[in-house]
């Protein structure tokens, strides 16, 4: 069995292939092998949430998963949120408006968790938001603005949905 292996993933809609060490974590693979440095690395043991990405639509820790385990998977990272023309995703826009970030270290992970939360629960209660956020540490904001950002994003995305379905 080799200590290096080819890993093929679809990241943000694009097919990416790279050879990597089997001991490479997914977050290092994204950052070092694919050059996608938007996903941050904090604690490297699953606690802080900075490295959170979506795999098959589910928020997972990229620091405690091997890159080889993601072979064949569909991934979404923070780079995949804004449109190619730079228009922010409604979640990003809401975080900007509501001051949901200061230093921004925790933000990419929190945005990805918010994606899954709002996809599965379009109008989450404050309690539900807090429950999902419990998987993330933020040393700057005190969390209150993050909760407000998510609430704003939920309201906007729900009304966008209504406009879409009315059309």
């Amino acid at each position: 069995m080799a200590v290096r292996q080819t890993v093929r993933v679809r990241v943000n809609g694009l097919e990416r292939v790279a050879e990597t060490d089997v001991r490479r974590t997914l977050v290092d693979f994204l950052r070092e092998d694919l050059g996608l440095t938007g996903t941050h690395v904090g604690c490297e043991h699953g606690v802080c949430g900075a490295c959170t990405v979506l795999m098959g639509g589910q928020a997972v820790r990229a620091c405690i998963m091997l890159a080889v385990q993601a072979d064949g998977a569909e991934l979404l990272t923070v780079e995949g949120l804004a449109s190619p023309d730079g228009t922010l995703h409604p979640i990003q826009e809401a975080f900007r408006e509501k001051h949901g970030l200061q230093c921004g270290f925790c933000t990419p992970g929190i945005l990805m968790t918010t994606c899954e939360l709002l996809a599965s629960t379009p109008s989450p209660s404050t309690e539900e938001i807090k429950d999902w956020l419990s998987g993330h540490l933020c040393r700057c904001t005190g969390y209150q603005q993050i909760i407000e950002s998510i609430q704003l994003a939920a309201t906007r995305m729900a009304s966008d949905q209504m406009v879409l379905s009315a059309q």
Partner: protein
């Protein structure tokens, strides 16, 4: 930090898996959800020479009904299924209630139910539930299959009777005794942290609620393994479920505990916590008697 070097295998079948484990024995580790093993590798607290990733092994990812009211859960079924899978929710809702205490949503999306049992953290929820619900573990190796009752499975802190050449393929939860009401309580400093102490309690009473027919009581986070208070369970039978009876039972169930101290709390604090949680859990079981929903 980064994981040390290892050889990586990703078998597709159980026979391939057990053959690799038989060949590499002590140096090999099974990789399931990775939510405990990868942190250990990153911190270099574990240095296996071989990782056997079971995530692509066929037929381990199923939940199926087992006996009357029970469920059998395969090795790669994620913890998030506990609060999403219809068979599990329908048959053993107490597992769903308790699962909300396991880390965070992001952890439960990868972490497996069997992985938590094999890891055997004394503060983990699932080992305590397995003991309380009298689950059975199915362990496979190149030489065959063993079925191990939860009562004999957990040996000590992070230690089970599993051999290095064995893989846990399934956990079977039998249907709980008819009419039993369950409660699960734990205390941690932050939501999602491992418990400082916790309890799984079950109570069934006569139709008019005046006397206890059967009881289950397991405390965890207070010793090397979950602790079942069998003598207290037996002594409760036939008694009225009054506050004083339940309070005495909780005192007796936790009297001999000698929990370890750490930065999160002293041994004495943990024991007091276990006792208080036990009273509340037993009361919650009693209060939910006659209602449609199990206690949470």
């Amino acid at each position: 930090m980064k994981p040390p070097r290892f050889e990586y295998f990703s078998p597709r079948s159980l026979s391939e898996t057990v053959a690799i484990l038989a060949e590499h024995g002590d140096g090999a580790k099974v990789l399931a959800g990775g939510q405990s093993l990868l942190p250990l590798l990153n911190m270099r607290l574990a240095r296996p020479s071989v990782l056997v990733d079971i995530n692509r092994v066929s037929r381990l990812d199923t939940v199926r009904p087992h006996g009357t009211g029970g469920v059998a859960i395969g090795a790669t079924v994620r913890q998030r299924s506990l609060h999403g899978d219809p068979t599990l929710l329908d048959r053993l809702p107490i597992l769903g209630t308790a699962s909300q205490f396991i880390g965070h949503q992001q952890i439960r999306s990868r972490g497996t139910i069997c992985g938590s049992l094999a890891h055997a953290d004394p503060a983990a929820e699932l080992p305590a539930l397995a003991v309380a619900l009298e689950a059975e573990m199915v362990a496979s190796s190149a030489s065959g299959e063993r079925v191990l009752p939860a009562a004999d499975f957990f040996v000590d802190y992070l230690t089970t009777v599993l051999e290095p050449t064995e893989v846990l393929t399934e956990v079977r939860f039998p249907g709980p005794p008819a009419g039993m009401r369950w409660a699960f309580l734990e205390m941690s400093r932050r939501h999602g942290d491992f418990a400082l102490a916790g309890v799984v309690a079950g109570l069934s009473t006569s139709d008019d609620g005046s006397s206890i027919k059967a009881a289950r009581l397991v405390v965890f986070g207070v010793a090397g393994t979950p602790v079942r208070a069998s003598a207290v369970e037996a002594a409760l039978v036939g008694q009225p479920p009054t506050d004083s009876v339940l309070t005495d039972a909780a005192a007796e169930a936790t009297r001999l505990l000698d929990p370890p101290a750490d930065v999160h709390g002293s041994g004495a604090y943990r024991r007091a916590l276990a006792q208080t949680l036990t009273v509340r859990a037993l009361q919650a079981c009693r209060e939910s008697h006659g209602t449609a929903e199990p206690a949470t």
